[in-house]
């Protein structure tokens, strides 16, 4: 669960990490009143769960309370990356000298917590990591020992801070680690951590994500900051997604769901987890327009796959369907094939002319291919990579057969 900026800052300030003085407002009048209280230049930040909102008009500045009111009014009507702006964080505007970056996350390869520091922070941190990898300093942390002060000290040396400030930075890093480990966070980054012209450090923005599976034991802690468990979704689920979720829920066996609706013309039955994401990306790269994202795996029964396939096939605008999966070890290829064919037959489709692409391999693949051969459906085995299959699917839709 990703936290909003104001929630993150509330928690960070409880850990004595300095943050700019600010308040969340939901109306332009409140923004004006708080701007008056601050009595100086202010920053208005849209509270949305989008990354890079600064470049999309999600952060604006005002010199006077009147201007703040006007800006707030405009911002509260806006939409950023599909998220409606419902609240703003009004903050005192700091005089920034330099932007730094500190963050805690997990190293997927080493399977350990990871601390990252950089003397170049800000919105372009991803670019910095590409162009100046030497400016990014990483250190794996033992889960048992935690972040030791000496390690934090070593790391903050990389921030090129003027005298005395490394002590402050070390304290911030240790507190950030304290938060990270106590709250079961999977990401806690302060970007940017700014050095103000007054020679102080402050967390100007923070991005915190809490592990969803740990939320049950973090309820009380988060409750202290009035943060409730929620699903991070930009929009409410569509009827299509609700129906798919019901199909998945109705039978406990396997997964044939986690559907996200898109506006394209290529229906997808893809599986599972990382494999489906990779396939989805590949389809986009080849210029395809997926009609949906979904995951099929865990040995879902034929009936479940059939219902999902029917749902995807009957979605308006779908002109073809692609079943692309990795080498299945936890599902049976023949079940997927049966489900797909059953759906098409029950919908009264012409199996020979309707654009279908089937690329799957793994358990019971020969059985699956035998079924597909019988019904005249084009299929590919493991000799065709998922990436190639994605390209073929896009081509198939373009040709219309």
């Amino acid at each position: 669960m990703r936290l909003y900026e104001f929630e993150s800052k509330k928690i960070l300030s409880s850990y004595s990490i300095p943050v700019p003085k600010g308040r969340v407002v939901t109306s332009s009048q409140e923004a004006r009143i708080f701007a008056q209280e601050i009595g100086g230049p202010i920053a208005l930040k849209a509270q949305v769960l989008a990354t890079g909102r600064g470049k999309m008009g999600g952060v604006r500045f005002a010199e006077s309370p009147q201007e703040a009111e006007q800006v707030a009014q405009e911002m509260l009507k806006a939409e950023i990356q599909g998220y409606a702006v419902k609240s703003l964080l009004v903050e005192e505007r700091l005089d920034i000298e330099r932007e730094l970056y500190v963050g805690c996350t997990y190293d997927d390869v080493k399977k350990t917590p990871l601390i990252i520091c950089s003397s170049l922070g800000g919105v372009d941190i991803n670019e910095v990591s590409r162009k100046h990898p030497e400016k990014i300093h990483k250190s794996s942390i033992s889960s048992f020992m935690g972040l030791q002060p000496y390690k934090a000290w070593e790391l903050v040396q990389n921030l090129d801070l003027p005298a005395k400030l490394p002590w402050a930075a070390q304290a911030i890093l240790l507190k950030l680690w304290g938060f990270f480990s106590q709250f079961d966070a999977i990401l806690a980054e302060i970007n940017p951590l700014v050095l103000t012209s007054r020679g102080e450090l402050a967390a100007l923005d923070a991005h915190i994500e809490i592990e969803d599976d740990a939320l049950f034991r973090q309820k009380e802690r988060l409750g202290r900051f009035q943060i409730e468990e929620r699903e991070d979704k930009a929009r409410p689920p569509t009827p299509f997604e609700i129906e798919a979720a019901q199909i998945d829920k109705a039978d406990y066996r396997g997964v044939a769901g986690r559907v996200i609706q898109f506006d394209g013309n290529l229906g997808l039955l893809i599986g599972a987890g990382g494999g489906s994401l990779t396939t989805f990306d590949a389809i986009l790269r080849y210029g395809g327009k997926p009609a949906n994202y979904c995951e099929v795996g865990g040995n879902a029964p034929v009936s479940k796959i059939c219902k999902l396939a029917k749902l995807v096939l009957s979605k308006p605008g779908v002109e073809g369907i692609a079943v692309i999966t990795n080498v299945y070890s936890n599902s049976r290829v023949d079940f997927v094939a049966r489900g797909l064919i059953k759906a098409m037959v029950e919908l009264g489709m012409d199996l020979k002319s309707y654009p279908v692409l089937f690329r799957s391999a793994g358990a019971f693949e020969e059985e699956g291919y035998a079924i597909l051969r019988k019904y005249g459906i084009r299929y590919y085995d493991r000799s065709v990579s998922m990436d190639e299959a994605a390209g073929l699917a896009v081509e198939m839709i373009k040709k219309g057969s």
């Binding site: 034929v302 049976r332 079940f335 049966r338 059953k342 037959v345 035998a370 079924i371």
Partner: protein
């Protein structure tokens, strides 16, 4: 009859009526069989779920069950 699998129960051999045997019902992991007025019948929708585990064939004391692939 399912689209992909046909499960056949030979009524002449099946002794469900006489002894109340329901071994195929008990064994089938996908519930493809059920009892209907003392007779073992198959559930068409679930026939397509058949995993070819052959438990019904192996357990039937009278060898009354047959699993037929339709592809």
């Amino acid at each position: 009859m399912g689209m992909f699998v046909n499960l056949k129960v030979n009524e002449r051999l099946c002794e469900a009526r006489e002894t109340g045997c329901q071994k195929c019902i008990d064994m089938c992991p996908v519930d493809a069989f059920r009892l209907e007025s003392g007779k073992i019948v198959t559930i068409f929708d679930n026939e397509d779920e058949c995993t070819f585990c052959n438990m019904c064939v192996q357990e039937c004391p009278k060898a009354a069950v047959k699993v037929v692939k339709l592809y």
